[in-house]
């Protein structure tokens, strides 16, 4: 039997040479965390866990999948029918992509509401946008792999976006395809990149965490941590809170996988790719719909493409568009209203993105696109200058206490 001291001695021996235990202690145990975090702060760890789920199921799927235009579709069907639990593996991975985007979008809107992108967390935010871009690229290429109709035509449409650029456009597209249409070379490289990029995401996530732990988490009040009284150790308080959230999340995830695995997919992708026939109604996966709506809202090809890219790119400069000193929307009466309008607007964009590009939908998508960009480029800078806010609580503790004892929760905001 190893007694306690020997055990201690061994980990201490390791820790002196490779400080893994100190690292875990600092970042997952003692790590001082604002004591007022609500459940919206669960979504970072949920995103991390989803990334791990996607990588594990992805590696196992790659062991069964064949990246060849003649074999890809059948190899996916073989996974569904012949591979032990192959259906489970694929449905987890397929729906995991959707869950990943739900989680990350909530995570982003959380940051947007509580001003998590503001000083001193600008790089933390920008690294997050890089992760989002990598996720989008990875998800898009993953959707191409089953080589169904939607795979093929999605790949054709998205790669053709680059043809909008004058002069070099066609060369870029031919380069992306590795040929003169979406074909075997395209499929092979998409598979390789789809396998590679998640590991790039892991790398950026590591940087994201380093940047996070530099100043610690933001919190619902947006007020900086001022004393030890404002924080509690990460373990056991937030490990338990994250763990509980994970349980709820996995129940929803499992419900989707087991009871509605194709709910978010498109039936046309169970038809093998046919380069001679485009499906009548072609839509991207739901998580791209708002951006797709912006693309279609613009009558000019190049401008549409540029605006669609700009819709994501604008997030990069967000910390410099919203320079208001107060972080949390809780204390910003006007920003709060525009924020909720923006959230609704994004849902509307997603909805019109799924509708045919004609009639009233075009008008709606134009209005929604205009609001999308106005929110960032007009409303935010104006509010930064003119929005007046009342007195803020002096600390996280006092905010928490006044919330608890003052039944009138508005009082501290005034």
């Amino acid at each position: 039997m190893i007694d306690n001291e020997e055990k201690k001695g061994f980990s201490a021996w390791i820790d002196k040479r490779l400080p893994v235990f100190t690292f875990i202690n600092h970042n997952l145990r003692d790590y001082p965390t604002p004591k007022n975090l609500n459940y919206f702060w669960n979504f970072g760890s949920l995103a991390g866990i989803t990334l791990v789920i996607m990588i594990i199921t992805g590696i196992l799927l790659a062991m069964q999948y064949t990246a060849n235009t003649d074999l890809a579709f059948d190899s996916v069907e073989r996974i569904m029918r012949d591979v032990n639990n192959g259906w489970l593996l694929r449905y987890i991975h397929m729906n995991g992509a959707s869950m990943f985007f739900i989680i990350v979008y909530i995570h982003i809107f959380r940051g947007l509401y509580y001003g998590s992108y503001k000083y001193p967390r600008e790089i933390l935010w920008m690294l997050g946008v890089v992760i989002l871009l990598l996720m989008m690229a990875t998800a898009f290429m993953g959707y191409v792999l089953p080589w169904g109709q939607m795979s093929f035509w999605g790949a054709t449409v998205i790669t053709n976006l680059f043809s909008a650029f004058p002069v070099i456009g066609d060369y870029i597209v031919t380069f992306l395809w590795g040929g003169f249409s979406v074909d075997n070379p395209t499929l092979t490289r998409f598979f390789v990149l789809h396998y590679l990029l998640p590991f790039a995401i892991v790398g950026v996530v590591a940087l994201h965490l380093v940047a996070l732990h530099q100043f610690g988490s933001n919190n619902p009040t947006g007020i900086d941590v001022k004393s030890d009284g404002d924080t509690i150790p990460f373990h056991p308080y937030y490990t338990v809170k994250d763990y509980f959230g994970l349980g709820v999340y996995l129940i929803i995830f499992a419900a989707l996988v087991f009871f509605a695995p194709n709910f978010l997919g498109h039936p046309d992708n169970y038809i093998p790719a046919n380069p001679l026939q485009t499906p009548a109604h072609i839509v991207p996966e739901w998580y791209f719909l708002p951006f797709y709506a912006i693309l279609r809202a613009v009558p000019d090809k190049l401008m549409g493409v540029l605006l669609m890219f700009a819709a994501v790119a604008v997030l990069f400069i967000l910390p410099w568009l919203d320079k208001h000193k107060v972080r949390s929307a809780q204390f910003r009466p006007y920003y709060k209203q525009f924020y909720w309008l923006f959230l609704i607007n994004c849902v509307i964009l997603g909805w019109v993105g799924a509708m045919p590009a004609e009639g009233i939908y075009v008008t709606i998508s134009r209005a929604a696109s205009i609001y999308y960009f106005s929110f960032f480029l007009v409303i935010m800078p104006i509010l930064s200058r003119f929005e007046k806010v009342g007195e803020l609580p002096s600390s996280i503790s006092s905010a928490v206490l006044s919330e608890k004892f003052d039944k009138d929760s508005e009082s501290y905001a005034k």
């Binding site: 594990i56 062991m63 069964q64 012949d82 591979v83 489970l88």
Partner: protein, 185 residues
């Protein structure tokens, strides 16, 4: 109120610890059970799939193979050596005293019909395919097969006679469906 909690701290923590132990054990137990069930399901995807298992039998027509000739067929991705043995080969295999063999098996126990020897053509050392099926091949010192990788010699019954291999060439499960047709697997 606060004071009472501090005063009765010992008592309170006593109750709490039991409750906490219970919660901790049930939580951790369920997490381990759920994690293990998930892991097993996922790892099981790497086991042979149904289409792979479906390829596990094959039928072979022996009628074109003349005495002294050999035939190699595929079964489960491996070569199966079938040799139509001559009288001399059968005798030389049968006349070996079992005691002097590394892996003690009689020739009788290794064949169904002595004219036909059916073995898995994979050296029991490290998995190479031994020579001896083709006309020009070296058949080793005992007239059977010779593995070029590390020099194992097999006799006309596919038994290991010399070299590093520990076991005789494996006999696949097979049976004669008719006089001329065998079903392997």
């Amino acid at each position: 109120m606060k004071k009472t909690t501090i005063e009765t701290k010992n008592e309170v923590s006593q109750i709490d610890e039991e409750k906490r132990d219970f919660l901790f054990v049930t939580t951790a137990g369920l997490a381990v059970a759920g994690g293990a069930a998930t892991a097993i399901s996922l790892i099981n995807t790497m086991n042979p799939a149904k289409d792979v298992l479906a390829l596990s039998t094959t039928e072979v027509d022996l009628s074109p193979v003349e005495e002294g000739q050999s035939l190699t067929v595929m079964w489960r991705g491996k070569p199966i050596f079938i040799r139509h043995r001559s009288k001399e080969e059968i005798e030389s295999a049968a006349n070996v005293s079992v005691d002097q063999l590394a892996h003690k098996e009689t020739d009788e126990s290794r064949v169904d019909n002595p004219k036909w020897l059916v073995v898995v053509g994979v050296c029991t050392h490290l998995g190479c395919v031994p020579l001896g099926q083709k006309v020009g091949d070296s058949k080793g010192e005992f007239g059977g097969w010779f593995c070029p990788c590390h020099g194992s010699h097999y006799d006309t019954s596919g038994r290991i006679r010399k070299g590093p291999a520990p076991l005789n060439l494996e006999i696949p499960p097979y049976k004669f469906v008719s006089d001329d047709i065998i079903k392997i697997g």
